[in-house]
Amino acid sequence: EAGVVQSPRYKIIEKKQPVAFWCNPISGHNTLYWYRQNLGQGPELLIRYENEEAVDDSQLPKDRFSAERLKGVDSTLKIQPAELGDSAVYLCASTTGRAKEETQYFGPGTRLLVL
């Protein structure tokens, strides 16, 4: 079974440019998470989806970040415009959403460098 797929794996952009990350969760997983992981830190939740609905986006900087999960499968996270402080690894994770305390399955992440 394929795991969580993310692309691109690496992205280098100049500040003020837009950037988008894509995530394909494990088949059948209804819950999808986007995290940001700064160097030497743990993942921090940006947004959580239950199917198509964003149920927790309290930590998403909405002035420049947006996300969508059309049809409740794939998801895209966008930053526009990017700032130097956005350099980090962006991780996508998924769970079935059918139980509490579930294991979260993570993708390999997209490493973003903003110059």
Binding site: V4, T31, G40, Q41, G42, P43, E44, L45, R48, D56, L91, A93, T95, G97, K100, E101, E102, T103, Q104, Y105, F106, G107, P108, G109, R111
Partner: protein
Amino acid sequence: SQKIEQNSEALNIQEGKTATLTCNYTNYSPAYLQWYRQDPGRGPVFLLLIRENEKEKRKERLKVTFDTTLKQSLFHITASQPADSATYLCALGGGYNKLIFGAGTRLAVHP
């Protein structure tokens, strides 16, 4: 706000010894706690879950304890191997599948 503390410095041990990693937290009462392993350039991988009403959990060479009075979890790897070298993250669980991660502890096992 919630605060999670893991050993900020890397833990260096000799092969065959037991590694003990600490996770302390404040201002939170997690219903459960999970431990993940993260290798460089990869996403975290789940290892163990322990609930608030459980004192200890074991899985092969791994053992985790959870003391809700001390607000602490200990993660042990017995008979450590160089392949165990990685960063280990603790995550506090509450609500519905909501995790708050610590910064992680880097473990280096030397032959």
